[in-house]
């Protein structure tokens, strides 16, 4: 079957801007793990579709604001993360929990704002939800309840899995040259591992593509029924895109010298499993545990432009039973190992991106890719304005 998504969706700036407005702006987006925000005045900054965002710990509460001082549009926090009050270094303005300025030096003598003017000086604030140890924000002025995007059960699973995360995390950013959609498509394609990761990941986990007959039947029903036009139906289908849990058995039980030092993740049945875990919160997040719950990777795929995606990668072990001296060495070594697999994926997606042009053929999907085909059907209806989120 041919995908409904045209090549323009991967290369066209105007399309990218419609994605921002129709898909990303209404949806909840991952912003950071709570580990980066657990101290008073801890903050993270990210740029989402050109919008500078700061999430700041304000006296124990997390708040999301546009990271722009209302005075002269200077970014308030300059680093990607850190611990610093919400204070603009340009003219010394500082801001409180609601985003209003709490101190404007020399306000009465040189600014002389009227009360009406001062009312407008708030930082723009965004909705924020904490799911276990994961922080999500929503850029819409009327955000949909986060349960409507992911489903309450899925959120509970994400929360319980993330509670296993340790508080020490290593992170880095990859500047990848491909469209963000290639990542979610790749992550939902179990057939690539045996080729792309033949010498790495596939040696440890033999991912097998399967034809999901239920998905296939759903796809056929969707195609027969025509366009999705009803928002409730669109949200129900959207919720089915975020999947997760045990994915494939490991070839060998995981053994590493540091494993006894951490509290291995127990799945919802209360048991350990020698399996590869994959959680895929739609649209642009991936959580994995390649060793049955001894450690976790979070990937956050931030669209930058049609052909560029910023991939922020976090890696942490399961909770340490007690601090140990070499924990940083464990994180560093494992991140370097994970880098090989990640670069294999990045290389193939960058190769794909290079082939795309306006007259390129649509991709041809096999029946094992029905999950991607369903997403494509839904996505095209959204982009064509058949429904709004």
């Amino acid at each position: 079957m041919h995908t409904r998504i045209p090549p323009q969706a991967y290369i066209d700036q105007e399309w990218f801007e419609r994605e921002r407005d129709l898909l990303f702006k209404p949806l909840w987006q991952f912003i950071a793990p709570t580990t980066l925000l657990d101290k008073p005045n801890a903050f993270v900054t990210r740029t989402l579709f050109g919008m500078p965002i700061v999430v700041q710990n304000m006296k124990g509460e997390l708040r999301a604001f546009e990271n722009v001082c209302p005075h002269r549009q200077n970014p308030i926090q300059l680093q990607p993360h850190g611990v610093r009050p919400l204070f603009c270094g340009y003219h010394g303005w500082s801001f409180g929990q609601d985003g209003a300025p709490v101190n404007i030096p020399f306000e009465d003598t040189i600014y002389r704002f009227t009360p009406q003017e001062k009312e407008c000086l708030h930082l723009r604030r965004f909705a924020l939800e904490v799911v276990g140890k994961l922080v999500f924000i929503n850029l819409s002025s009327q955000p949909l309840p986060i349960e409507e995007q992911f489903g309450a059960d899925y959120l509970a699973y994400l929360a319980s899995a993330s509670e296993a995360f340790d508080s020490e995390v290593i992170m880095t950013t990859y500047d990848a040259r491909f469209n963000w959609k290639l990542v979610y498509e790749n992550l939902r394609d179990a057939n690539h591992a045996r080729y792309v990761h033949s010498r790495t990941l596939y040696q440890e986990t033999r991912f097998q593509p399967v034809i999901n007959e239920d998905n296939l039947a759903l796809l056929r029903r969707m195609e027969r029924a025509g366009d999705i036009t009803e928002r409730g139906q669109a949200l129900a289908i959207l919720r089915s895109f975020s999947t997760g849990g045990r994915d494939a058995p490991l070839e060998q039980a995981p053994v590493n010298s540091w494993h006894p030092l951490v509290e291995r993740f127990r799945d919802r049945d209360g048991e350990h499993h020698d399996e590869y875990y994959n959680w895929l919160p739609f649209p642009n997040m991936h959580i994995a545990s390649a060793n049955g719950g001894y450690s976790f990777t979070i990937e956050h795929h931030i669209p930058v432009s049609p052909g560029r995606t910023e991939m922020i990668v976090y890696y942490m072990t399961a909770k340490k039973k007690r601090p140990y001296a070499a924990s940083a060495a464990v994180l560093h070594a494992t991140m370097m190992g994970a880098d090989k697999v990640l670069r294999e994926d990045i290389d193939v997606m960058e190769d794909i991106q290079r082939t795309l042009h306006p007259a390129a053929c649509h991709a041809s999907l096999g029946e094992y890719e029905s999950e991607n085909a369903i997403i494509h059907h839904w996505y095209m209806n959204l982009m064509e304005g058949k429904f709004v989120l």
């Binding site: 580990t35 980066l36 657990d38 993360h81 340790d166 508080s167 020490e168 995390v169 290593i170 992170m171 880095t172 950013t173 990859y174 500047d175 601090p323 001296a325 070499a326 924990s327 940083a328 060495a329 464990v330 994180l331 560093h332 070594a333 991140m335 370097m336 880098d339």
Partner: protein, 207 residues
Amino acid sequence: MSCKFVVGSGPALDWAMGAWREAAPELELVPLAMTSIADAAEVEALLAGRELAGATAFVTFDALHLNFARLERMGAFRMHGLRMPPLVCRGAIVSDSAKIAENSYVGPGAIVGQGCKVGYNSVIGAGARIGHGSSIGNSCWIEDGVVVGRAVRIGAHVTLGGGVVVANDIEIGKLCVVDKPGRVDADIAAKTFIQSSHANPMVIVGD
């Protein structure tokens, strides 16, 4: 004749034997080839039946696991009460006022300036220069030819790779890797990894 156990694996062991032979020809050198990083049973087996009184040891290993692998080996032998004097190779210039701690190594042609402190289990590679008043923490690895300026403070378990130049008065926190050739002009926070393999640094947050 004093006995020194020289502990290592493969070419690194051969190299350490040669370096000690040049630096201290009066010593009786006993090579101990290890297969594990620091398996206690293997260490016991290597030392079984040997006279330890008055003996010394030197342990070599690369910078694996932020130099913790070498530290584990060192610890395994130190636990047997063996002293581990540093190895200062022939051709190294070490100021009389510099202090080099146990199981550290200063390679041929390296210069360690006045008042410098080099912690235990650290490596100052051949031809490296450590400016006066600088301190190198425990279990560091300073690659051949690296230049460390004056009054630089380098924390424990730091690796500086080839081609790195650290400006004067800089502080590099513990558990860092700088393995991208170039000049370090600003302090580097602990647990930061700047490597040629990655366009952006890796950093560890939290504990």
